[in-house]
Amino acid sequence: MTSAQTATLTDDVVIDCKVDKIFYGNFLAVRDSDVPIYKNKITGFIGPSGCGKSTVLKSINRMNDLVRIFRFEGRIHFEGQDLYGTNVDPVSVRRHIGMVFQQPNPFSMSIYENVAFGLRLNRYKGDYDARVEEALRGAALWKEVKDKLQNNGMSLSGGQQQRLCIARAIATKPTVILMDEPCSALDPIATRQVEELMIGLKSEYTVVIVTHNMQQAQRVADKTAFFSVDISQGGRTGYLVEMNDTGKLFENPREQLTKEYLSGEFS
């Protein structure tokens, strides 16, 4: 083991995710992937389409439980518990681990109510106005919407909607925020805003982001996990090829496969 690796292992791991197998019905979608998520860091998932990035991500907050044929083997340790343990309620997992989706998906209610949604859900007793403002400031949206908090969330532009969704996710101060290609529906300017926002969030939150954009991974991610697809056994099973500090992974990948993917030779 190199010294660099030992160093990373001593960092705080908030979510220790060890996937043995993830199935959709009989289809083995992902195998053998150990993805530790470090506290107050941004972890990026990259890899070709269909390699299971979203599958692994959505396994972390048990969103995949909504898919009837989904089956998870392995364990995900979070705050001293296995998230797939028998007495764990997926609903409360999702309250601790927030999620931002690829398509902006604000609720058809006022901007204010969108942000306050999680607070009401968790029966928050404190000052709603203050929390809503704090979340909107955190999502770099406050200045644009402070005079129209009662307008419908759907009336915002796509980039603003996505930041509203981020505000909605951080209003309850979840420990970890998962983002599945949060910028793919946004223009470059909105993308930059969201990226800056993520970097700002790091001090308080742990962020995991799936992205197809190599530059984005390099710009925001501290750690990067590269997934690929194994077609040798007839199926199309995704797995973790390697995970490292972003700089090291991009400059000096350990695996040949990573090198090929990063240089665009991947077929």
Binding site: N61, M63, F101, M109, F117
Partner: protein, 325 residues
């Protein structure tokens, strides 16, 4: 028109786009004129009906004025006519129907769209409920008289005996009455409310559902706090249609409501509605009575039109303000 855009014999290679032929244009125009005519025709028809009924009713309206609306007796022998009990009965039965059929219809819509059941059963149930709309109202009326009333009478009379101090239970159920009528009407409006609410619920994009679950809602929280509010406009439209249907329904009510001139809060007392009054009195009406019944018809028409227009206004208002609160 330049040569390349005119209708010429085209070559084998090169673009094959040609402008629409004069026949296409002719058909298009005819079709458009045709549909426009029919659209206007419906408006004209409504106008004509209102005109014609209003015209027949005019002498009665002039003679009796507002007193007709507030009078409580209907006695052709004495020449006394008032339709307050019928107006009351119309609204009371319709509101009860809306309450019962509306909540039940929405519940069914939720049940059939939110993955509570395997897909196949869902489809079977859905079409079964739609079949309810195909049953003639006279059959509903018969079923109400011979099955429903005997069935609920013991329960109703028990309620009256034990909770008789509550105005809703202040009489016993001796046969036809408000409650059996509203119950049957609820079943009749069920397909309308359920189908429209289902459409509204299934039109919600999956990403909204994902967002709700992603925030950590339970299934019920997702339904109550996100999905139903998101679909509320469509559901409201279904309720307005159902309410309109309940206001105007005639046959089943004439058979079940009891046709008795009473102004009562009691669910079990016989009552009367405008539609039932009209249906039962027209066959033997003299010319003079016909005018009076036409007056009652104008009132019913006015109520149903007003309800539908107000409903439309509320829907289009909420559309324009984009759900602003």
């Amino acid at each position: 028109m330049s040569a390349s855009l005119s209708n010429q014999q085209q070559q084998n290679d090169g673009p094959i786009a040609v402008p629409p032929s004069s026949k296409d244009i002719f058909l298009d125009r005819t079709f458009r004129t045709f549909t426009t005519c029919f659209a206007w025709l419906t408006l004209l028809l409504i106008g004509y009906i209102v005109w014609e009924i209003g015209g027949t009713a005019l002498p009665a309206i002039k003679e009796m004025g507002v007193g007709f609306l507030t009078g409580t007796t209907w006695d052709p022998n004495k020449g006394e006519f008032g339709i307050l009990p019928q107006i009351w009965g119309t609204f009371y039965s319709s509101l009860l129907t809306l309450l019962l059929g509306g909540s039940f219809g929405i519940a069914i819509a939720v049940f059939l769209t939110q993955d509570f059941l395997p897909n196949k059963i869902q489809i079977v149930l859905k079409s079964t409920i739609e079949l309810l709309a195909a049953i003639p109202s006279v059959v509903y009326g018969l079923w109400g008289i011979f099955v429903l009333i005997p069935l609920i009478r013991p329960v109703a009379n028990w309620l009256h005996a034990t909770l008789g101090w509550i105005p809703f239970f202040s009489t016993s159920l001796s046969g036809p009455g408000m409650f059996p009528a509203a119950l049957v009407l609820s079943i009749m409006i069920l397909p309308t409310v359920a189908a429209i609410s289902q459409d509204a619920l299934s039109a919600i994009p999956d990403k909204i559902k994902e967002a709700a679950y992603g925030m950590g809602t339970t299934r019920w929280e997702a339904i109550l706090k996100v999905l139903l509010p998101t679909a509320s406009r469509g559901i409201f439209g279904g309720l307005v249609l159902g309410f309109g249907r309940a206001l105007g329904e005639t046959m089943a009510l004439a058979m079940l409501v009891g046709n008795s001139n009473q102004l009562s809060l009691s669910l079990f007392s016989p009552a009367d509605t405008l539609a039932a009054l009209l249906a039962l009195n027209f066959p033997e009406a003299s010319d003079y009575e016909t005018q009076i019944l036409m007056y009652a018809a104008v009132v019913l028409l006015f109520i149903t039109l007003a309800v539908n227009i107000i409903g439309e206004l509320i829907i289009s208002y909420s559309e324009r303000s984009g759900g602003k609160k």
